[in-house]
């Protein structure tokens, strides 16, 4: 599905230069559920942003679905992104001015899906996520867990091949966290590739393997082929 070769990301501010990613080479296949772990500041989010094409690397290669995309401009990246990738963030990043239903519908609008098709898809994911009854509420009226479920619903409504989840459970208590993990697993079982950043070893084990980052470098990769909940 995707492969990186010596990815480098350097942040420059006036005084300091931070190497957030240092020669990261990973490969992730279709259908995998990969967890990424590591201490704060080690570059997890940076990696996710590059994998999700929200940002370009400073160096190295990134092949996504067979295309080398590291030098793509914003428009090209946006095109691939909206067709293939769904995002879930720690802070749920819902649009406050839109209702639950409208938030979930948004990716379909950008994909120019027909109204009837949109309605069907949104309703389906809202039902899967068990938040159909809240569809006309605004994000602030929901609990954190519910908001994250909406975010997941939004990530998967367009049927992406890849879901990138950056600490999706970071702001949730354990029962809500478990719910979200259940959803991600469910999606993965349906064939969607999932890459998830987490600080929780328990949640990391939901994945079929864990990539450990330290100081911008990949340190170990644990394959956990056998372990599935």
């Amino acid at each position: 599905m995707l492969r990186t070769n010596n990815l480098v990301k350097i942040y420059r501010t006036e005084e300091v230069e931070t190497t957030a990613l240092d020669n990261v080479s990973i490969e992730i296949n279709e259908g995998e559920f990969v967890s990424i772990m590591g201490p704060s500041g080690c570059g997890k989010s940076t990696l996710m942003n590059i994998l999700g094409m929200l940002d370009n690397p400073s160096g190295g290669e990134y092949h996504f679905l067979g295309k080398e995309v590291s030098k793509f401009n914003e428009r090209q990246r946006a095109q691939i992104r909206k067709e293939n990738i769904g995002f879930v963030f720690q802070s749920f990043n819902l649009i406050d001015e839109l209702t639950i239903y409208e938030n979930v519908e948004l990716p379909l609008l950008y994909l120019k899906v027909s109204p009837s098709e949109r309605k069907r898809k949104v309703q389906t994911v809202l039902e899967i996520m068990e938040i159909m009854h809240r569809r006309n509420h605004f994000p602030q009226q929901l609990s954190g867990g519910q908001q994250q479920r909406v975010a997941v619903a939004r990530a998967l409504v367009a049927n992406p091949k890849l879901i990138l989840a950056d600490e999706p459970t970071g702001n949730l208590d354990s029962s809500h966290g478990d719910e979200v993990m259940k959803m991600l697993t469910f999606l993965n079982e349906g064939g969607t590739t999932v890459i998830m950043v987490t600080h929780s070893p328990t949640y990391a084990e939901y994945g079929n393997r864990v990539i450990h980052l330290f100081d911008g470098k990949v340190v170990t990769e644990n394959f956990q082929e056998s372990f599935r909940v």
């Binding site: 989010s45 942003n49 999700g52 929200l54 940002d55 914003e74 428009r75 946006a78 095109q79 992104r81 909206k82 067709e83 995002f87 963030f89 802070s91 990043n93 819902l94 649009i95 406050d96 001015e97 839109l98 409208e102 519908e105 948004l106 990716p107 609008l109 950008y110 994909l111 939004r154 367009a158």
Partner: protein
């Protein structure tokens, strides 16, 4: 998608009330001002352009270099034979019209109903062909072919005869002429020079009222407007270059005068707004006023749009996350730009709705300001509504473009992390605020300068007294015949101090002729203003005599050959000791009996020129009555009763000389009003923006304020720190505003022969005022923040 955008806008509008209110009110005022100005500009711009032949019609104007006794040496009037001759001599001249008008003529219908109307007389049927009059009854070719026939506008026909068929009915003119109505024409639009003329008769009918027809229609008499129509495709320059030939062949040879004279063809399209000649059938417009109004509309719209830009980009940080999310989900830049521009367009459309209401509310005041009577139906005409919509959308586009650009540029990777783009665009925001205030301050400074010039004009000693003087126009000869009796009756009243009859009022003497005197070096010939007065003229107006004496009843010859001259004339004639000298005026000899002190005979745009005063009753046109200031209504009642005793058939009209005097400065007055209202609006809208910005920044700095207070800062420390940054901007604005205002005002003042010097305190005052207003605006926000409990705000984040 669009629906989705609109949902967000509408929810934003209802959720962020302050922001919405500030933005919409600013934009609404901007759009209202701009649309009213558009109404006016359209009216003025299309003035006299509605005739099918407009493009090929020219007015002949003449210039007599140096003859500035009519305010300018360009004359809108020419000789009667000119039009005819041009058509005869030049094949490219298709048609001509010679015309003029009588003002305030008494019209009787059925011997009862009494009107005072302006009457146009013109070469018929040329007038109707050239200006495409539409006849509802009668026909243009022969309607006025008989003498003493008249055609009426639809409006006047209705006014005079109601629903009766006017054709064949008669109107009585000046109580002694009976004219038969032979046609009715469709009333001309309000922005036509013919709009005021509902009664039109032929030049022939006019000529029949003259007893010196020969002389009146000679080449030596300049009294009529001449219009010519050139064949299609003829360049007026071509004809104009041949005009000196006409002067040589006809004018000079017929008059024997070697006066330098030039003819010009002025396009009809220019006669209203770009007129530089005196005399016109109607009051002319002024391109300067049009341009100033356009500039004001532009400035106010810009200031309002800047508010929107500043408030939106300041608030952008709050929307950054939305942008990030949208980008992550798949929005591209174009889509985001579309979204934010449609945002501002929604704002401007909402503002537009309020603007239309403002337009309706303020139309009467606006009418007064520009001196045109637009009816409220004008606001619902398609042409206005389309323009209105265009302005509204342009405002939306102008306001939205920059915020859209800023917002759509946010990088999702950064915003998603919660890194909001605080302060990133504050530099440009500051520049925009400085621009707003620079414009506002410059306008305030201009207002002060204009007002102080106006004040100077009103209070400058003109050399005559104009307080408590009531003026009655004598209207016609039958009234003048009763003059002595009227004066006697008036003088009997205890509140009436002086009564005088004169041909002109001191505020506007516009007749001139040549004065000759034989000196040692030969004959000296001086052009001079002339007027006629009586024994009481000088005392009534408090004009003083520096040498010699006033007209005196005890000197019988005074009424026949005495003349008073002003100091300027004495100087121009080269006379040290003028009293007792003999002047030759148009071939008659006059004895100088006194020198009067120079006084200003016009507005202060003009310098004092030579003047002489003679006595000759038939030329008297005004009765000026100096009264005591108390009990004015009773005095006016008495004057009215005297008037009715001797001139019952004429309506009693009066005015106060000081208000007549003020109307000399109608244009300046209008200009001053326009600039002062605009500057008021400008500073008001700019302050709305400042208010929004201040409240936003205070909100963002809540935590900082809390910490500062915990650390021991006083309320005034906090207010000071917060306000300082805004006041600094206003201060910079001053630096830009001063030279701009100075430049424009120096230019404006050039038009006055007598003017103030622009003094530095005006700039200190206007800058200080803007600073004060800004301080009050900003403080309202900062003080609130500074007073709030610090613990609360610290706990926020």
């Amino acid at each position: 998608m669009i629906k989705n955008y609109f949902k967000i806008v509408i929810r934003n509008i209802t959720r962020h009330k302050t922001f919405t209110f500030l933005n919409i009110s600013g934009l609404a005022i901007g759009i209202a001002v701009a649309s009213l100005i558009m109404l006016y500009v359209k009216f003025e711009w299309e003035y006299d352009k509605s005739y099918p032949n407009t493009d090929s019609i020219y007015r002949v104007i003449q210039r007599q270099p140096g003859n500035i006794f009519m305010g300018t040496d360009y004359f809108g009037v020419t000789q009667e034979p000119l039009g005819r001759t041009l058509q005869l001599e030049f094949p490219e001249v298709n048609n001509y019209v010679t015309m003029s008008s009588w003002k305030d003529v008494v019209i009787n219908i059925d011997r009862k109903k009494n009107y005072e109307e302006d009457i146009l007389y013109a070469t018929a049927p040329n007038l109707f062909n050239m200006f495409s009059f539409e006849f509802i009854q009668g026909n243009p070719e022969n309607a006025l072919s008989q003498q003493n026939t008249v055609i009426l506008s639809e409006n006047d026909a209705k006014k005079f005869f109601g629903n009766d068929n006017p054709v064949g009915k008669t109107i009585t003119v000046r109580e002694n002429e009976t004219w038969t109505v032979t046609g009715v024409f469709k009333s001309m639009p309000a922005n036509s020079q013919f709009a005021n003329y509902g009664i039109i008769t032929s030049f022939e009918t006019y000529a029949s009222t003259l007893n010196n027809r020969e002389q009146t229609f000679a080449w030596g008499n300049n009294s009529w407007c001449t219009y010519v129509q050139l064949k299609n495709g003829i360049n007026p320059e071509f004809t104009q270059t041949k005009l000196p030939y006409i002067i040589k062949k006809y004018v000079n040879s017929a008059t024997g005068s070697k006066k330098v004279r030039e003819y010009y063809l002025q396009s009809l399209k220019d006669t209203h707004l770009y007129n530089k000649a005196n005399f016109a059938l109607n009051e002319n417009g002024d391109i300067k006023i049009v341009l100033v109004l356009i500039a004001m509309a532009f400035i106010i719209i810009t200031i309002a749009s800047i508010n929107y830009m500043n408030l939106s980009t300041a608030r952008a940080s709050l929307r950054a996350r939305e942008v990030g999310v949208r980008k992550v989900i798949g929005a591209n830049k174009i889509q985001l730009i579309t979204q934010f521009v449609s945002d501002s367009i929604v704002y401007s459309i909402v503002a537009g709705i309020f603007a239309l209401i403002l337009d309706l509310l303020f139309l009467p005041s606006f009418n007064q300001l520009v001196g045109i009577k637009f009816s409220s139906t004008a606001l619902f005409q398609p042409s206005f509504l389309i323009g209105f919509l265009v302005i509204t959308l342009l405002v939306g586009l102008l306001s939205g473009a920059y915020p859209a650009f800023v917002l759509s540029n946010y990088q999702p990777a950064q915003v998603i992390k919660g890194d909001n783009a605080k302060g990133k665009h504050s530099a440009l925001r500051r520049i925009l605020v400085v621009t707003q205030f620079a414009a506002s301050i410059a306008l305030i400074a201009c207002t002060f300068i204009i007002l102080s010039q106006m004040n100077y004009i009103r209070n400058k000693d003109m050399g005559y007294n104009r307080e408590n003087i009531i003026v009655l126009p004598l209207k016609d000869a039958s009234v003048v015949k009763q003059l002595e009796l009227m004066k006697n009756d008036l003088n009997r009243h205890s509140s009436i101090v002086e009564v005088t009859a004169s041909s002109h009022l001191p505020i506007n003497i516009n007749s001139s002729t040549h004065v000759k005197i034989s000196g040692e070096t030969g004959e000296i010939d001086v052009q001079s203003y002339q007027m006629y007065g009586d024994y009481n003229f000088l005392p009534t107006f408090g004009i003083s005599i520096v040498d010699g004496r006033n007209f005196s009843k005890s000197v019988a010859t005074d009424s026949a050959n005495a003349v008073l001259i002003n100091q300027s004339l004495a100087r121009s004639l080269g006379l040290k000791d003028a009293v007792g000298k003999t002047l030759n005026i148009n071939g008659d000899k006059y004895n100088v009996i006194g020198i009067i002190k120079d006084f200003n005979m016009h507005s202060l745009h003009q310098k004092i020129l030579p003047l002489f005063i003679r006595m000759h009753e038939p030329w008297l046109q005004y009765l000026s009555i100096k009264t005591k200031s108390q009990d004015l209504p009773a005095t006016i009642d008495y004057i009215k009763s005297v008037w009715n005793r001797y001139a019952e058939q004429r309506a009693f009209d009066y005015s106060f000389l000081d208000s007549d005097f003020n109307s000399l400065y109608k244009r300046e007055e209008r200009f001053a009003e326009i600039v002062s209202y605009s500057s008021g609006l400008a500073i008001f809208i700019a302050c709305l923006g400042l208010l929004g910005l201040a409240s936003f920044i205070v909100e963002q700095k809540r935590k900082e304020i809390g910490i500062r207070k915990v650390l021991g800062a006083s309320v005034s420390d906090v207010v000071g720190t917060l306000s300082k940054q805004f006041l600094k901007l206003v201060f910079y604005a001053n630096i830009i505003a001063v030279p701009a205002a100075y430049y424009f005002m120096t230019n404006w003042l050039q038009d006055f022969a007598y003017r103030i010097n622009i003094s530095w305190w005006i700039f200190v005052l206007s800058g200080g005022m803007a600073l004060l207003i800004a301080l009050i605006t900003v403080s309202s926000q900062t003080i609130k923040a500074a007073l709030s409990n610090p613990v609360k705000s610290i706990r926020y984040e």
